[in-house]
């Protein structure tokens, strides 16, 4: 499902509106390109593609896709400094070890 949802939501941030139920947020599944053993988890549902995590990852672990969203480009480089955690304005990424 992850891929699909990710694609569907590109450019769309939906807000509540009449006669539509509030968008239910699913936080049960994390979509990271790669498996759950990835050193960094990215929750694309919430990511707004600002590029901050990529810009400030001190090791160059993260890369940026064409649409602006981050991905784990070099998993081995992650030092779990949690910079991306702290600087992501949308709580959509973590490099924390303990998570």
């Amino acid at each position: 499902m992850s891929k699909k949802v990710e694609k569907d939501k590109v450019g769309m941030i939906i807000r509540e509106e009449d006669s539509l139920e509030k968008m239910e947020v699913e936080i049960t599944e994390v979509k990271a390109p790669g498996d759950d053993d990835s050193p960094v988890l990215i929750y694309y549902e919430w990511c707004k593609k600002c590029g901050i995590c990529v810009a400030f990852c001190p090791t160059g672990c993260l890369g940026r896709k064409a649409d602006g969203s981050p991905y784990v480009a070099a998993p081995e480089k992650c030092i779990h400094c949690e910079t991306c955690d702290r600087l992501c304005p949308d709580f959509a990424i973590t490099g924390a070890k303990d998570r």
Partner: protein, 181 residues
């Protein structure tokens, strides 16, 4: 009383629909017709829901919001679902299939075009989706003259972006040619 032509452009904030509405209304002015353009959006002008209504008429327009649409353009599923049942019997529905996946009502006058994908593909960014789809709408419905649309676009976007948007317009016209039933 002469008939109003009522158009609703709907989607979400950031898709440039209000600008599209303004351009359409300007074009109508160039056609020397009467027009009103209204809009509605969430408190967060960015990201929330958004719609622009344009009414074009040859007589005085009283109520300025579109209530039943001669034409509905929907760039998101949500907007489409919300407004689809208020299209007039012979009304035109235009949806962006990049986002609108389900249509609860399809007629002869329904046009399904992946505007955003096309914009991304042909013009390198989804930013002109509004102009492409608006131009498509204009060509399909004939509600304003293409020259007036062009003039309105030229007046309404920043000089640096005029040529891009005119390209988008042409693209929209071409698509209309293509999809025209």
């Amino acid at each position: 009383m002469a008939k109003n032509y009522e158009i609703r452009l709907s989607g979400s904030g950031g898709q440039g629909l209000i600008l599209a509405g303004i351009i359409l209304a300007r074009a109508a002015v160039h056609d020397k017709r009467r027009t009103t353009q209204t809009q509605s959006y969430g408190p967060e002008s960015r990201g929330g829901y958004s719609r622009a209504d344009v009414i074009i008429s040859d007589s005085e327009i009283y109520f300025p919001e579109a209530t039943s649409f001669d034409c509905l353009l929907s760039l998101t599923q949500e907007a489409c679902d919300k407004y689809i049942f208020d299209i007039k019997e012979q009304g035109v529905l235009i949806v962006d299939t990049t986002f609108v996946k389900n249509l609860s009502l399809v007629s002869d006058n329904t046009y399904e075009v992946p505007f955003t994908d096309i914009a991304q593909e042909k013009l390198g960014s989804p930013i002109t989706t509004n102009i492409i789809s608006l131009s498509f709408l204009v060509k399909i419905t004939g509600v304003v003259k293409p020259e007036s649309l062009k003039k309105a676009i030229e007046e309404s976007v920043k000089p640096a972006f005029v040529s891009l948007n005119l390209k988008a317009m042409e693209l929209g016209f071409e698509l209309a040619q293509q999809y025209k039933k």
